[in-house]
């Protein structure tokens, strides 16, 4: 694929990832479609899809400051919620017909509180997410899924039958399978796409009508299967962390020669690595099981670190990763000790690891550049 063809193939995804509003969502709205925002990887978005709604994952993309939002947060809240709430306060999220928050972390909980008091979004819910991942918690979360399902039915005046929910699960699984196939291409010696390009595709998947996205992704895969790949990289890197939605962050890393070949971040592999059971007699239970036990583990979950470490090691092996970059947003409490453990585990396995603190906006390019360059140098690359 030549440069122009390449830019064209990624154009729609890059556009959707690089802004909040995009043409596909605008068209959806123009046709009378309704959009419900959601925070975090634990919201059972299939429930929204089954209700005919478009789930839209919340981001702070395009935010240039937090001066409106700062008044509503303390000085230990992360810059992700500040920037995202700032966009909401300046009207960028006025197109939302609803918002679903989840008690994934205290920062997002505070967004819910502030949203409730300051913004008039007609449908506003918060889901209670358990802290452990055993069967008892699956039962708890099944109740939460059912409560959300009922609330959506009531507010949006729709019926979500089990069959409609199963259909939504199949549609979301289709996305997951396609995205997984995209990642499989990156296992190659010469991956046909960069980490930044992949992240844009993944972020776009949370910001576009799903049917349309799946078709666009199929077309992209078709082009990439036979495409030439990147060979001129210095090292194959994996990025591990949380709410990373900015492809430009990975671009800075890749400009130094560190090709990001896989990840364990919220918008990346964590959103699609495993599938929801499509055949389960109770689809609400199937969703609860997936979001508690099925998808790759989040550091928020207690006692589940061994599963996260195993996932990390599998990724390192399967994608032939030379080094791991651990990113953490400043003031993120969920990730504060996780990277310390990753450091020990990876050291034991002889895999180079670097920890990076960052702000939501990828503005400190020079600092990132120096660290990545030095990291590659220490790896002898």
């Amino acid at each position: 694929m030549d440069t122009e063809g390449r830019a064209k193939a990624f154009e729609e995804f890059a556009g959707a990832a690089g802004a909040i509003m995009n043409p596909a969502v605008a068209a959806w709205k123009a046709q009378g479609g309704r959009v419900v925002g959601y925070f975090c990887s634990h919201v059972p978005t299939e429930v929204l899809t089954a209700a005919g709604l478009l789930p839209f994952r919340m981001r702070g993309t395009g935010s240039t400051g937090t001066e409106l939002a700062d008044a509503f947060f303390s000085n230990i809240n992360c810059s992700f919620v500040r920037n995202t709430f700032n966009l909401a306060l300046q009207g960028d999220y006025d197109f939302l017909d609803g918002l679903v928050c989840v008690s994934s972390c205290d920062h997002v909980r505070r967004v819910y509180d502030n949203w409730k008091r300051n913004l008039g979004t007609p449908f506003l819910r918060i889901i209670s997410l358990p802290k452990k991942v055993e069967d008892a918690q699956v039962g708890w979360y099944r109740d939460e899924v059912a409560i959300l399902r009922e609330a959506v039915e009531k507010h949006f005046e729709v019926t979500i039958s089990d069959e409609r929910l199963r259909e939504a699960i199949r549609l979301h699984n289709r996305t997951r399978r396609l995205q997984r196939e995209l990642y499989e291409l990156r296992k190659k010696e010469a991956p046909p796409l960069t980490g930044a390009e992949t992240l844009a595709v993944m972020v776009a998947g949370t910001a576009m009508p799903r049917q349309h996205y799946n078709e666009a992704l199929e077309a992209l895969l078709e082009r990439l299967r036979g495409a030439n790949g990147q060979r001129d990289y210095r090292a194959r890197l994996m990025i591990v962390g949380g709410e990373l939605d900015d492809p430009r962050y990975l671009e800075v890393i890749e400009e130094q020669g560190g090709l990001v070949v896989t990840d364990a971040v919220c918008f990346g592999s964590k959103a699609m690595w495993n599938l929801v059971d499509e055949e389960a007699s109770d689809p609400s239970e199937a969703l609860a099981r997936y979001y508690i036990q099925g998808q790759p583990s989040c550091p928020r979950m207690h006692g589940d670190q061994p599963r996260r470490a195993a996932f990390l090691m599998d990724m390192v092996r399967d994608f032939r990763v030379d080094g791991v970059v651990g990113e953490r947003m400043m003031f993120c409490d969920l990730w504060c000790v996780e990277h310390y453990m990753n450091d020990l585990d990876l050291k034991e396995a002889g895999v180079p690891f670097i920890r990076l603190d960052r702000e939501y906006n990828a503005s400190a390019k020079g600092q990132l550049r120096t660290r990545i360059q030095a990291f590659l140098e220490t790896m002898g690359k």
């Binding site: 603190d357 400190a364 600092q367 120096t370 660290r371 360059q373 030095a374 140098e377 220490t378």
Partner: protein
């Protein structure tokens, strides 16, 4: 074969001319707002001091430091982390831990026996523990940077400065001044506060002897003594100006590139 290393930092530009075995010359200039210009002034002067007529006579030049991408005459660029480690290790092969304190950042590197970086930590997010911090304190205390270095060891009872933030630390210092605390004790307190921060960075990469300081702030004797006290090891001094360690490292890498 003669090569060059050019380290364009936030506060000063450093250039070194090196032959196979020794530093032939080095030159340090205050950084201008144009990194390209800073680099050229430093390199041209170092070249002149080495008795060469032009930068073109250098077989290879490596740029490093914040301005490394702007050194137009450099053949390659390498991060200052790798360069400081390499330079310090060449100047003293027993070195296993390098604490580099520059104008706007500080970093700690652990090295193997060949001078290769095993691990590093870096603070460039805030001014605490950098040259900027000492400059701000010297201004408040009216003692100049030399005073920060020399007066510290006269402070018998270092004042407590608890803030890690240079802005808040400055407020603390102003409070101490107004409480009539002896200036030497305040300066000792400042150096102890920075040493504490560096100490925790050293513990992150793991302390291994010998330890040395590089960068402009390594000339602060009060800081070196405070660090020794906190870490319980002695700080080894280098046989050359520690401020040029990064440029020396860059030149060493340049000479490896030529040989390769």
């Amino acid at each position: 074969m003669i090569v060059g290393g050019c380290d364009v930092g936030s506060t000063t530009g450093k250039a070194v001319v090196l032959n196979e075995t020794a530093v032939l010359s080095h030159y340090i200039v205050p950084s201008t707002t144009k990194p390209e210009q800073t680099a050229r002034i430093a390199m041209e002067e170092a070249v002149r001091m080495a008795g060469l007529s032009s930068v073109d006579e250098l077989a290879y030049i490596v740029g490093t430091g914040y301005g490394r991408l702007k050194v137009s005459f450099a053949h390659d660029n390498v991060s200052e982390i790798t360069c400081h480690a390499r330079g310090a290790h060449w100047l003293n092969p027993a070195v296993r831990t390098v604490v580099d304190i520059g104008g706007q950042d500080c970093k700690v590197m652990s090295l193997d026996e060949r001078g290769k970086v095993l691990e590093f930590v870096m603070n460039d997010r805030c001014a605490a523990g950098t040259g900027r911090f000492f400059e701000a304190m010297a201004r408040v205390l009216g003692c100049g940077l030399d005073g920060i270095s020399s007066l510290a060891n006269q402070g018998a009872t270092p004042a407590t400065i608890s803030s890690q933030c240079s802005v808040f630390a400055e407020s603390e210092v102003v409070t101490l001044i107004n409480e009539g605390v002896d200036v030497a004790d305040i300066i000792a307190g400042i150096n102890h506060a920075v040493a504490k921060r560096l100490c925790s960075m050293v513990r992150r990469v793991g302390l291994a002897e010998e330890l040395t300081l590089t960068g402009g702030c390594s000339k602060n004797d009060g800081l070196a003594r405070a660090l020794e006290q906190k870490l319980g090891v002695s700080v080894r001094t280098l046989p050359q100006d520690p401020q040029i360690a990064g440029a020396v490292g860059a030149a060493l890498i340049a000479s490896e590139k030529v040989r390769a």
